[in-house]
Amino acid sequence: MPNMPKMEVYMKRAMVAVLLAGAVVLPAFGAENRQDGFPNGGRLVYGEYGRPATLDPITSNDMVGLRVTELLFNGLVSFSPKNEVVADLAESWEVSPDNRVYTFKLRRDILWHGSSGAAGRRVTADDFVGTLDLIQNPRTLTPLKAPYELVADTRRVSEDTVSITLKRPIVNGLGRLSFKVVPTFALQNPDFFARDDPFSQKPVGTGPYRLREVTPEGDVVMDANQSYHRGRPHIDEVVLKPFADRNVLTQSLLFNSTDMIVQLNARDIAQVEGDKRFNLYPYNALSYTFFGHNLQNPHLRKKEVRQAIAYAVNRQEMLDSFYESRGTVISGPFAPGSWAYNLDVKPLSFDPVRAKELLARAGYTRSGADGYLMTEDGSPLQFTLKVPIEKENETIKRVVLAFQNYLKQVGVKVDLEFREWQAWQEDVFVNHDFDLMIAEWAFDDSADISTLFHSKETGAWRNNFIAYSNPEVDGLIIEAKTTLDREKQRTINQKLHALLAEDQPYTFLWTVTNYAAIHKKVRHVDIQPFKFFTFVDGWYIPTKEQAGSPE
């Protein structure tokens, strides 16, 4: 009968699943040379929009930095292509019965990349103790501070054994200990990590690639780590080439200056898709774009004003016009691909009338001769929007110009200020010198928004740069972090979604699909959606196609 097969074969599938679940696999990558039969050699030049401020995994806080540190560093554990936690620098581990103490047995064959003081030194338990101490040191400015507050004690048990004690059992304890290790002895000051430490520009790691140089143009040139513990990566050389202009970035691919663009400009997708030299790889980084409201601004502190901004903006029209509908308007602080997204919360509609009503309710009823609403002191209701564009990003430029125009229609003046990426980060993350800002957040699978919205996360280089403070949100964030019940975590996150959608600390815009464009000569490509290069050691270029790589 036609309806029967689905049910019968399902039973076979279920049995297979049980068999696999019973086999706990902790793979150890002991081979010195990869045994997959693919050739070594070749050069891969990839283009990024913007340059990484730092090249170390402690102070780096952006996606460009995350990707490059994935090439240069490793942690105790990593993730398989199926997102299972697998051994990396640790070869095995034990967890105490109360799920608080994780004891890792380290591999004995891991050497720091050959360079200056660290050259050829073996990675030991001291390095892991030192790295966690470094992260927890109050003088280290790192976005990792909050995630690793959960560590109560890190101890060297022996040269090859390290134990990490958590303050309490947590969900994903093992995955959360996947931090990248750094050789603290190679730092200017081994106790804390300053962003201006020379190590942040000349890092030494254990990863599949090691830094050769950063050229005067800002290219980050990396060589294959010949003694990489998972086997020598196939591709000899990987180069990160930063671009200040998105249009030029795409052109660099089309004119063979690069082999790969990690995140292709939405407007260029059709052109690249039609070019037979390249493959497009869509990947879901659980990301979304937003306008952030600095709540230190007295006008933006009013919820009605923030809600008015959301109602004033026709997000679907912007998405259709500037991204050719290649995305989805969102309603809150999670991406629609996340388990935490609250499907009951609908995006606020485009409703300029409602926006004006809300602004009036907030006390902005008088307009000046120029048509803009006036504040109590008679000045126009005016905000500065900081936009991270150095030279050119046509899509974002259109978005912010449209935003400016939408707000003008409801009587709010917006001044645009375009800033180079590093300067923009200083303004936003350190000096909090902005009224409005636009950017994109990307998350790993944990959907952890605690650093974005908890009131304690407001210092320099912390993620709550908008100074959002809501005791109810704080309480829920703490509860979500401390519970071991994943369904409870989901309920709390969905409640957070509803609360933040109502409170509008950001104007939540949209999720767009990320597309990597990669030259077809690069084979066996497997992309980790968040860290991107996790499996780069398995990529290869056929011998015949290794010549003619971009310079």
Binding site: R13, N61, S446
Partner: protein, 423 residues
């Protein structure tokens, strides 16, 4: 860039050749159909139906029937995925240390087991639910009724069809919301909702196609009969399927349709020479996929498996996306030992419009569901959820599947808790 094309659209063009000049008003409906906006296409036709010529009315009716066929196939695919995900979610809930005694678990686990054809387990779980002290009489009665269905199916005895209430119901609202702990709200959705939506769509297809099969002229009559037979086949009404196909001059439909119709007819009565029928139809991919629905024994089973595995080699870039999606679901249902879900993703992705990867206007919805199922099997939960998020904008009844998939993802994710800014 290519927009979604299907052989069904080609069928429409074929039909048009045999009809009088098409009424211009139908062009809009055809365009909506081509964009996979089936409900809108139906609305467009309904508003013009009275003013159409008899030949154009046949075309319009055929289009209506096909739109329901497409929708039925979509819900069938969603139901397949929903069963898999639902069982996984029930398992994750059962593994949770915090709520082992949750009274709803046996009930809904039984529902999903019944849906999956695991009748013995379903009978056991539903028996437990029927005796539960925590459930209301209404739920216990439902548990008893479904337990009886499981029992009868276990013995392969004919059973009454059970359906869920879907008319006039907000399908985003769960059947049960357990908020006994306000910090942990659990929702349960009856998997029968999707199956009921599927059955409803097949019946709607029949109500449009049957008149064509009886009174339609020429090609409209033949195609009407074929798809009416197809609908009966998937409703499990194999005798009716054979009956409606019987009078057609099958070769006149072309070799592909001829092969398909012969396979459908074979479902009602075991043909004398099954091997010969297989040999004469195995070169037609759509027919092979229908063979797969029949799960024939040897000597066909082994060669069917081989042929099915080799099918993607014959899929050209312009291959019918619905068929590719059907192949994907067939491959997934055979399990990872037959073909890794990653391989299925690779094959299906070749037929996806990457630039508009989740949009139904650019991708066949069934292909998207197959991709979501393959992504799910490959632990790529965000991609599966994102696809369903887009589909849910156009099709009702997906919320339960989305909820369960979110639950599986929440339970299985192992990430570190990282968030990064990007420009």
């Amino acid at each position: 860039m290519r927009i979604a094309t299907t052989t069904l659209v080609c069928v429409l063009l074929l039909l048009e050749r045999f009809a009088t000049a098409a009424e211009p008003d139908l062009a809009g409906a055809r365009e909506l159909f081509r964009q996979n906006r089936w409900a809108e296409a139906r609305e467009a036709i309904a508003s013009k139906m009275g003013s159409l010529s008899p030949a154009d009315r046949d075309q319009a009716r055929f289009l209506l029937g096909l739109s329901h066929v497409r929708e039925a196939e979509l819900y069938r695919a969603l139901s397949f995925l929903s069963t898999d995900v639902g069982l996984a979610y029930m398992k994750e809930l059962a593994l949770s240390k915090e709520r082992r005694a949750l009274p709803w678990l046996p009930l809904f686990r039984g529902f999903y087991q019944l849906d999956a054809g695991r009748y013995e387990e379903a009978e056991s779980a539903l028996s437990e639910a029927a005796l539960s002290k925590s459930l209301t009489a209404e739920w216990k009665n439902l548990a008893s009724a479904r337990r009886d269905v499981a029992r009868s199916l276990k013995g392969r005895r004919p059973s009454a069809i059970v359906e869920a209430e879907v008319e006039g119901v907000d399908l985003d609202v769960p059947d049960v919301e357990d908020a006994s702990d306000p910090k942990k709200i659990l929702r349960f959705f009856d998997p029968l909702r999707l199956e009921t939506l599927e059955r409803r769509a097949w019946k709607s297809a029949l109500s449009e196609l049957s008149p064509l099969a009886q009174e339609g002229q020429g090609m409209a009559n033949k195609l009407g009969r074929y798809y009416a037979g197809y609908a009966h086949f998937f409703l499990g009404e194999t005798a009716e399927a054979a009956s409606v196909l019987e009078p057609i001059d099958l070769p006149a439909l072309g070799p592909d349709y001829h092969a398909r119709a012969r396979v459908i007819k074979a479902a009602s009565s075991e043909p004398e020479d099954l091997a010969a029928l297989w040999e004469s139809t195995r070169n037609y991919p759509e027919a092979v996929l229908l063979w797969n629905e029949l799960t024939p024994g040897e000597p066909v089973a082994t060669t069917l498996s081989e042929r099915l595995k080799a099918l993607p080699q014959s899929f050209r870039e312009s291959a019918d996306e619905t068929m590719v999606g059907r192949w994907g679901l067939a491959a997934l249902s055979r399990g990872p030992l037959w073909l890794e879900s990653k391989e299925v993703v690779v094959v299906l992705s070749r037929h996806r419009n990457h630039a508009n990867k989740n949009k139904i206007e650019w991708n066949d919805p069934l292909l998207l569901v197959a991709l979501a199922a393959a992504n799910y099997s490959n632990n790529d939960y965000p991609q599966a959820l994102e696809t369903l998020f887009e589909l849910a904008k156009s099709f009702e009844g997906l919320r339960g599947l989305q909820w369960n998939l979110q639950g599986v993802y929440a339970a299985r994710q192992k990430a570190a808790g990282d968030a990064r800014i990007a420009n």
